[in-house]
Symmetry: C2
Subunit: 414 residues, 2 copies
């Protein structure tokens, strides 16, 4: 029997990890091929009522300096302690598995290199899509492909809010409140609703697929706080639903286009059917075509499922780096193109005293475009979808239009 596993952070994911590991320990040990157990749980708190109270420790050094520990699950989050701990563990040749998307997005290339250099592994299946298998599928199963594009609904909180807006006509504010009541959103929901969380995940997926670290600062993001029920209604009438989509794609010249923003998704697209807190990720490869991965993108046991899967993989391959890596990059490198320079088609809603009278001017600006109607449309409102064109050209047109109208909404088409 080796007491060779430690868990750092006994919060939601940490307690789920311990719970799932202990529940399925017999079958897990069979898969690993030897008896393994959790020796330490590091937390600043005590948990006297927990059945694992005797495994709680408060000093990181206990874990770091125990030669029996082979694998550590870092599920404490953040980029301060977690970064320091992870680095030191890897430098000692202990494998680390994590659900910490912020840390992987900020320091992935560096930590993977340290793991590689010290014959251990840094695995992060849980960092994207919760329990949905996505890292290993991209890195292993689809390794024969050039990845052309990855797009996904990567944040359950915003998807829940948008679903409530679309299906129950709740306002953004009410839907957010409900999400908070149900525990889907934090008291400070910024990281979710402003798109930071989805941005980190698309950085991880893009780095993995294209072999070079994409930092969050390289990606344009906008959240869902400005999506209104009016937009939801126009979108529905044109055959779309609004979803927060993270995307990364390879352009013909080898540069990448990456963006996180709300988008009008055609109802025929499978991503349009992904509701509530569920996540889905679509991956397009030159061999496989489109494949889609769907499931619970967060939550205690789903996330723990991915963490425990990584623990098992590490314990099966001790003293051997599991070979995931990508090159580091610097923020001055321009391999992610400016989003304004890429093409898109845009849904636009404007307000003006006599909106209808602006139609000839708008049509002249954009050429062939599509107007959308809604029941009881106010006279001072007009909504349309632009043709596919360079985004900065769309903005230039809207800048001119803003002299005669308020640009109330603009949302990219998927």
């Amino acid at each position: 029997m080796s007491k060779n596993v430690a868990v750092i952070g006994y919060g939601v994911v940490g307690s789920g990890t311990v719970e799932l590991f202990m529940k399925n320990r017999e079958s897990i040990n069979k898969k690993i091929g030897r008896e393994c157990d959790i020796k330490y749980i590091l937390d600043i708190r005590d948990f006297p009522d927990s059945p694992f109270a005797d495994r709680i420790v408060h000093d990181f050094e206990t874990i770091l300096n125990d030669d029996e520990i082979e694998v550590v699950a870092e599920v404490v989050g953040g980029t301060t302690f977690a970064y320091d701990y992870t680095k030191r563990l890897l430098q000692k040749g202990k494998s680390v598995v994590t659900s910490n998307k912020a840390l992987v997005a900020a320091k992935g290339a560096e930590l993977l290199k340290i793991a590689q250099d010290n014959n251990c592994s840094y695995l992060f299946e849980a960092s994207v899509g919760g329990g949905i298998p996505i890292i290993r599928p991209i890195y292993k199963c689809l390794a024969g492909n050039q990845i052309l594009q990855i797009s996904g609904i990567l944040n359950g909180t915003t998807n829940f809010i948008l679903t409530k807006m679309i299906k129950d006509q709740m306002s953004f504010e009410d839907a957010l409140k409900l999400a908070q009541q149900l525990g889907y959103a934090e008291a400070d929901p910024t990281a979710d609703v402003e798109g930071d969380d989805a941005c980190r995940k698309i950085c991880i997926l893009g780095s993995l697929a294209y072999g070079k670290h994409i930092y969050p600062e390289m990606i344009h993001k906008s959240g869902i706080t400005r999506v209104t029920l009016d937009d939801v209604e126009y979108a529905a009438n044109a055959g779309y639903v609004i979803k927060l989509i993270g995307s990364v794609k390879k352009l013909d010249d080898g540069t990448l286009s990456a963006i996180v923003c709300p988008r009008l998704v055609p109802k025929s697209n499978l991503l349009a059917s992904v509701d509530d807190v569920f996540n889905a990720i679509s991956v397009t490869g030159d061999g496989v075509g489109d494949v889609l991965f769907y499931g619970a993108g967060a939550g205690k046991l789903p996330t723990a499922s991915a963490v425990v899967g990584d623990i098992i993989d590490c314990l099966k391959h001790i003293h051997k780096a599991l070979n995931i890596s990508w090159e580091d990059s610097s923020l001055d490198e321009k391999f992610v193109v400016r989003y304004k320079d890429t093409n898109c088609s845009m849904y636009v809603r404007i307000k003006a005293d006599d909106a209808q009278a602006l139609k000839p001017a708008i049509s002249e600006m954009f050429g062939k475009l599509m107007y959308i109607e809604r029941e009881n449309r106010p006279d001072n409102e007009l909504a349309f979808i632009t043709p596919n064109m360079v985004e900065s050209d769309i903005d230039a047109n809207l800048a001119i239009l803003s002299h005669s109208a308020e640009i109330a909404s603009k949302i990219r088409i998927f």
Copy 2:
């Protein structure tokens, strides 16, 4: 440079494998960490116009006896030559990857054991779901879970036929003809339409998830040849679509229930939206909940994507078994329960001169059931959905009913 790969069978999947490997060879070699190449393509035919004509060989021994060959893709299919070749290659310590579901379903436990004993790997990601990552996700990413259930649309041909019946009201016969014209169905479509192909795939998934070989003979299967447009219409009116579903699930007493048959799938279930030749597999784990994998379940390049992914994995782990295995079993073992002893709810369509007059008798037999209507229902027809009960009890009731009515259709509810 190692010329260390051979491909057996230069048909659809074989030529796709060579095409994809050669196209992406640069990035593939980067992932492997050394220069690799395809040395031989074994086929009984010559391909003088192929750019790879000089790699074609006709004698299996050439591959078997070449020490440079490390990995062989067996994409010839069937269980005769393929079985013999695979066994001998593995015995020599050469890894084999395959898309051959018939062989894995018939001989998987044995071949995996031989691989294990000879420090090489037998991988078969391409055998289920074409290019959809499913084997590794179940085996690795979800390793921390007890798998509660796997259900899927595992055969593209029948899904295409059913989609045409549902969306375009084509008859089964016409839809089959169209599938044959488009190259989705073979001249002899038996293996697809009778459910054999889906059955092999559910055997593989079940063996993998539950650790014991499930042979096709252990599983009850029925195909889609008897599904009519009348059934499609009744199903739609009750909120269902008809899909060919393969399922395996663990019962409370540890035995397995496994079956392949057409089913009425509620429209709200994601599997109901999987149309045309696409496949989708839903996996339920005690940690992760439901995850779904979707994509092209067959075809030249999608299947090649999975084969090449496995080739890369083998070349990264030479002289090391990749550790997939399950116990063998014998046909007398009763760990898969008789389907008649499990519970289900059944859609039933009957014909009788005065069908309406049978309602009281039917209601008395089944208790609470649901009748379904359709426009212009003939007077001699009646359709209903039974409550959830042991299937042999449903059949006993229908046997009594068959004295006064013809049992025209019965299809299980999903």
